[in-house]
Symmetry: C2
Subunit: 136 residues, 2 copies
Amino acid sequence: MTELTNAVSKRERDCLVLLKEESRGDFPMRLHEIASTMHIKPPTALNIIRRLKSKGFVETQDGMIKLTDVGDRLSKTILMVHRTFESLFCQSGVPESRACSEASEIDFLINGENAMKVLKRIDNPSSCPHGKPIRM
Amino acid sequence: MTELTNAVSKRERDCLVLLKEESRGDFPMRLHEIASTMHIKPPTALNIIRRLKSKGFVETQDGMIKLTDVGDRLSKTILMVHRTFESLFCQSGVPESRACSEASEIDFLINGENAMKVLKRIDNPSSCPHGKPIRM
DNA sequence: AAGAACGTTAGTACTATACTAACGTATGAC
DNA sequence: GTCATACGTTAGTATAGTACTAACGTTCTT
């Protein structure tokens, strides 16, 4: 987890998380799929994908878009940070859906190692409120 | 504390916090002072001030720049959120200066009421690691 | 052969951020 | 009294990010 956070913008983050969560088991996504899931038009999605590609987080093969190893690691970190803060908010009494949206605003801005320290501080939950595992 | 957070960008946030922390006791700031403290040129600072003015967070009188009541409330909320998360990071073992910079990245993005819930969750410290009070 | 689906290009737009160069006004030094 | 400095301001440029429409080319399927 080598200082990868803060390398992406909000929408790039959304796209990375989508690719990580949606494309389970090396099942890459198409541009139109990404666009419609993110509620944007294909040219806008293409723009985001291009930036992610130029940053080395994504690669395309025959219209299939998938995470690179580096992109996969970054996505994992972001999801770990996300679930850590989502858990914190929930433990604090914030409703689940609010907790999730708050976490989405900040998960790509916080350093992974610091988030892991926070995770310990909040009693090291093994899964987020949605039941998804928290790990690197 | 009525849903004011998320109303500003990062640099607008920096400027609000500067105005709140630097101008103690109705001692407003000049443009050049703001610019040099923020390490930007006066025209850039003017731009930020203009946006803050149009949002109703700042007003100018004879070149003196000061927070409006609404701006003052927003700054207070941001500082409360800042100190809450700074405390969280410190309690978690993150060094003080890192804790501060991480908190600065997110304090203007998080809802004040949710932050207050987090504050309770982390044992309601009355001051941040720097010794400054945490309150609304 | 026609149409749909999809990726892509080109062009526009707006916000945020930041710069330089230049200008006007005011104030203090001499 | 003039000159220089300081300061606010304007105008112009630039880049990144976000998002749109219109249009084009290719491919795949009826």
